[in-house]
């Protein structure tokens, strides 16, 4: 290999399995050692190769978060396949959409999830491996060969040696037209991030990482690949426990978690339940957060609860750059009542701040769109022909759509230029929600507005109905949306209008709708109760 400093993430598992075969790789009810995790990855790779699937193909993984999911990821990489992780909590209609886009040749699936898949399996599929041993149900009439993940025999395989441009994974994010789009991450991208993270956080083999993020979420690449690089243990928080803070806290204590990387909403819940102090989380040394702005009052509360020596990092980046800037939170940041900076670009990355109209660099301190250039920028989207998407992302350069400013090289975030928002750390295209709402037979038009205030942010949907149809209730709309969208994309409030207001250009007047939404729905419950008390 020409680039001597290049390190492929799959070699992290191979090296840790040979250096620390008995050390725990995965913690939980069933602890798995590095040696045993690598052996299972090799069995999966052997089965993939027996089925005649060649490197460069894709493997979809649709099962609950846990050891099987992780073994499947490593098995795909061991055989040279890109893994496509699907959110086990999303509606099956959306999973079916992603499967159509992803065209996988191999699929690791939970039988119960697969049995709910509407329509046929993708034509590309040549092998299905069933996850989760105790389930005996199989899909009758499966048109391709299948096996149980838990009962694969040892068999020889050809270990795959990836090049820097080999695609390691495809992560699907929300798409404006209603179809999720697949972001391809190369080994080069993962190497650039993992290499930096291991050094910056000084990760060691005795570290224990709590993996909160689901695997379709780019935060998980840290948990999986930085841990394997150094031989650290990972506690994958199982799907049903991801929103159960008592269970998370119990695991942090029991497994001696040193490092947690999560979205602010989860860290805030742990803080509010007083679960991050040295008494309950004695081994915690690093708290990393990303995915959305951490409201400063919540961040201050968390910092006050944590042991003083605990390092806090704000990591920033859209999936198309993974993490591309980072900032270690200082006491001075916490003393200011404003959001902490997103920090400086990672080594080897250049941040350009461009005027959205002229595309020329802005003056120091002025706001503009952040464009990232460097080895973290992903190779592009799977099957995307749309011109506007292609031009915002060229190899080695990504226009983030985020408005930032720079002071002394430190970047500050100021919001979006388009209609992408973050809900519980997940990227949400407001257009995807609207496309789902108008699929209700009574709905003619829909517009979704994002509002944010003291109690966090909410989605408000404005809906107009087809002539002669009686308006659906909010519960009916929510039930309709529940079969199409993940939970975090469901609007909190609905407002039916006879027609949606238009601006002078004849487009839906989003500004007017934003004003209505803020007037009507942007009030903290405490404030509402206070007003009622005054009235009484």
């Amino acid at each position: 290999m020409s680039d001597l400093s290049y390190f492929a993430v799959i070699d992290g598992l191979r090296e840790s399995a040979s250096r620390f075969p008995d050390a725990p790789a995965l913690l939980g009810p069933d602890t798995v050692s590095y040696g045993s995790l690598h052996r299972q990855a090799c069995r999966i790779a052997a089965r993939i190769q027996q089925a005649g699937v060649k490197p460069g193909a894709r493997m979809a993984i649709w099962t609950l978060k846990g050891n099987d999911f992780i073994a499947a990821i490593w098995g795909a990489l061991e055989a040279g396949l890109a893994y496509v992780p699907l959110d086990p909590c999303q509606p099956s209609a959306r999973a079916a959409q992603i499967l159509r886009e992803a065209d996988p040749e191999v699929m690791v699936a939970h039988p119960d999830l697969l049995s709910h898949l509407p329509g046929a399996l993708p034509d590309s599929l040549r092998l299905v491996l069933f996850a989760d041993g105790e389930t005996t149900q199989t899909t009758p009439g499966l048109p391709v060969s299948s096996d149980r993940l838990g009962s694969l025999p040892d068999a020889p395989h050809e270990p795959f040696s990836p090049l820097p441009d080999t695609v390691a994974t495809v992560l699907f994010t929300s798409g404006s037209t209603g179809v999720p789009k697949g972001v391809q991450l190369s080994y080069r991208n993962l190497h650039a991030f993992v290499g930096w993270a291991v050094g910056e956080f000084d990760l060691k083999a005795d570290d224990v990482i709590a993996n909160h993020a689901s695997f379709h979420f780019d935060l998980s690449t840290f948990d999986l690949f930085a841990a394997a690089r150094v031989g650290a243990a990972v506690w994958p928080i199982p799907t049903p426990q991801q929103s159960n803070i008592a269970a998370i806290s119990e695991g942090i204590g029991r497994y001696g978690v040193t490092t947690i990387y999560a979205v602010p909403s989860i860290l805030t819940m742990l803080t509010r339940a007083k679960l991050l102090g040295p008494d309950v989380a004695p081994s915690l040394r690093r708290v990393l957060f990303a995915g959305e702005v951490f409201p400063i009052f919540d961040l201050q509360a968390m910092a006050a609860q944590l042991r003083e020596s605990c390092a806090l990092y704000n990591l920033y980046g859209p999936t198309e750059t993974n993490v591309c800037t980072a900032h270690r939170v200082t006491d001075a940041d916490l003393a200011r009542d404003q959001s902490v900076p997103i920090g400086r670009p990672l080594p080897g990355q250049t941040a350009h701040i461009l005027d959205p109209e002229t595309r020329l660099p802005v003056a120091e301190g002025a706001k503009g769109e952040l464009v990232i250039e460097g080895s973290l920028v992903t190779p592009g989207y799977l099957n995307v022909a749309d011109e506007t998407i292609r031009t915002s992302h060229r190899t080695g350069r990504h226009a983030t759509g985020d408005i930032v400013s720079s002071r002394d090289g430190v970047l500050h975030y100021h919001g979006r230029i388009d209609r992408i928002v973050k809900m519980q750390g997940n990227r949400v295209e407001l257009g995807e929600i609207e496309a789902a709402i108008v699929r209700h037979p009574a709905v003619r038009q829909a517009a979704t507005i994002h509002i944010s205030g003291p109690r966090g942010s909410d989605l408000v949907a404005f809906v107009s109905c087809e002539a002669g149809r009686s308006p659906p209730s909010a519960i009916e709309l929510l039930n309709h949306l529940r079969s199409l969208l993940p939970r975090y994309m469901l609007p909190r409030h609905f407002k039916i209008m006879s027609t949606l207001p238009l601006n002078p250009n004849g487009k839906i007047d989003m500004r007017q709708l934003t004003r209505i939404a803020e007037d009507q729905f942007l009030r903290a419950p405490e404030q509402r109760r206070l007003e009622e008390a005054e009235d009484a």
């Binding site: 008592a246 805030t268 819940m269 339940a273 519980q424 529940r482 909190r492 409030h493 419950p525 509402r528």
Partner: protein, 83 residues
């Protein structure tokens, strides 16, 4: 108790249309309650009924619907009955 909890929910988590939440509306599945509003509701219940919701009770099952919240609150009000 049922009426009180439903009115607290309707007051604080109204969907914006004329209808009211019912005892069995799936609050978590429909995202009416989420991680950012969860603790506000716990604080409201604690203040309203003078109970402490212990950490072990802060789990999705207890907040899945108004009926589940009523059951949990009743259990918290009469802890010795079960003993």
């Amino acid at each position: 108790m049922e009426k009180k909890i439903l009115s607290l929910l309707n007051e604080n988590y109204a969907l914006g249309l004329e209808e009211q939440l019912s005892l069995d509306t799936p609050l978590l599945e429909l995202n009416i309650l989420d991680s950012s509003t969860f603790f506000d509701l716990i604080e409201i219940i604690q203040a309203e009924f003078g109970v402490t919701v212990p950490l072990t009770e802060i789990k999705p099952d207890n907040f899945a619907s108004a009926r589940a919240i009523v059951r949990m609150t009743n259990d918290l009000l009469a802890p010795s009955a079960a003993a």
